[in-house]
Symmetry: C2
Subunit: 291 residues, 2 copies
């Protein structure tokens, strides 16, 4: 089990998941697929208010997207609208559900029942979308045996059996980063072909296995970037304007940096980084929590 491996793509904003596959088996663009759940949510809300039809304009507003984009997205699914009227809510709910594969049952295992694992186990959005938590797993004997969301936490050793007997094809990893790849390997080996990874780790998987990653830290950092921009251009300018300069000047600067070594950088950084972590610098996350 190690032939044809390939690291999954990136994390959030970019394509992610379904690595190299264009995924347009019969045509639906990846960007559209990513928006279908959004539409579905908005439509479900309308459905519950017994709204019979919606225009692309209304639905787009509810989903927070451009109406032209929405229409084009729907056009990939087929022509489910009626000109001059709009879209039949119930019918569209069904079509999108079917396209996303939500009309069938998806057993899911959650590995790593820490804070986040608990949160996910209690997540109400699962059952209503065809997802069923088949089992909660953990390697820590202290956690095994307890229960979360009415389900017992079982030991990792039962993983293979559970995946096989319940035909689980989707696994959720909420372990500390150090255990993620190992858990991933076991999941794949057992037969799981789709993985949702909350650990801040780049997972390597064989071809044919999809990985999607959710990383809170990344989201916050992106927010910080934009926030910084809003707060007027750089309040503190780290160092040398040399680095923006082209040619030999830059090269010299580079050489100096290598000579100076880690000392300079370490001093310039917020927390201690050069030596040993002061307290809880998290060697890529404090091993206590994923996400």
């Amino acid at each position: 089990m190690a032939i044809g491996r390939s690291p999954q793509s990136s994390s959030q904003t970019p394509d992610q998941g379904a690595a190299r596959r264009p995924s347009r088996a019969r045509g639906i663009p990846e960007a559209t697929v990513a928006r279908l759940p959004l539409y579905l949510r908005a439509l479900t809300a309308l459905s519950e208010r017994s709204v019979p039809t919606v225009s692309s304009e209304e639905l787009a507003a509810a989903a927070g997207v451009n109406s032209a984009k929405l229409r084009k997205d729907f056009s990939y699914l087929g022509s489910y609208g009626t000109r001059g009227v709009g879209y039949d809510v119930e019918y569209l709910v069904y079509q999108i559900s079917r396209e996303l594969g939500l009309t069938q049952d998806w057993p899911v295992v959650i590995v790593g029942i820490g804070n986040l694992g608990h949160a996910l186990a209690n997540y109400g959005g699962f059952a209503s979308r065809g997802f069923r938590v088949a089992a909660l797993l953990d390697a820590d004997p202290a956690v095994v045996g307890s229960s979360a969301a009415g389900l017992p936490v079982r030991h990792m050793d039962e993983l293979e059996e559970i995946v096989e007997t319940q035909a689980v094809s989707i696994g959720v990893i909420t372990t500390p980063p150090g255990a993620a790849q190992q858990v991933c390997d076991r999941l794949v080996e057992a037969g799981v072909t789709s993985i949702l990874n909350f650990a801040p780790t780049v997972l390597t998987v064989p071809d044919g296995v999809d990985v999607r990653k959710v990383d809170l830290s990344i989201e916050l950092q992106i927010l910080a970037f934009h926030e910084q921009r809003k707060a007027g251009e750089e309040p503190d300018r780290g160092d040398s304007v040399l680095d923006r300069a082209p040619g030999p000047v830059r090269a010299a600067a580079a050489k100096l940096r290598r000579a100076a070594g880690a000392a300079t950088a370490a001093k310039a950084e917020p927390a201690g980084k050069g030596g040993k972590p002061p307290k809880g610098t998290d060697g890529e996350l404090s091993a206590v929590m994923p996400a």
Copy 2:
């Protein structure tokens, strides 16, 4: 405080956050910004192993991206590499940190201390990246007063004061979906200009406020879509091939659908949807949990 509102863009894969702003103030593409945290994580790991330099090839592998893309990304920051050698790890860590605004302190408030709120409060990746949890807030008296991750949970009414006195500019919403917009409004009103939303709701905010959304349900649905594709083309074909046909045939089908009404669709769906929810269909989430 209600002029010039605008719903944030989409959710995951697309652009999201920074709604209409091209965000290339001085040039850095949004896609690149989204990858910087990835590079930073890989670099931090190398730094802790005291690796002095990396080539774009090595770093790209560690971050799970194409090396050419990585080099192009770095080229937007400036020329921080040395040809024939690679990049100085420590120096690059610093440069990226600075670019992302991680060299300064970012106080953050978390609103909604349920399962997920707890998980986030315990998240180790905060402190090490310049994020500091300024306060945990909740509206439920039963939760207020308890503590999470060593911090006391305070009442929502203290929000305004906390935001002002501690100069909080980033808020995290982990409330049930019904409360999200309301909480969002209060955060914005109090002065928060960046929001990370875990509730499955499309938030409407004034211009100048960034919203990023993390939605577990959406990720799973995207996985299900690809999983379905892998399991051979549609095992059960919902109904009519008519819908793929163009022209009057389709129109007739549409008319029939409207006539038939919700009954057909409801019957075809997984859970009960037409009438009242059977048990926990989650009117857009069971109100118990966000994420």
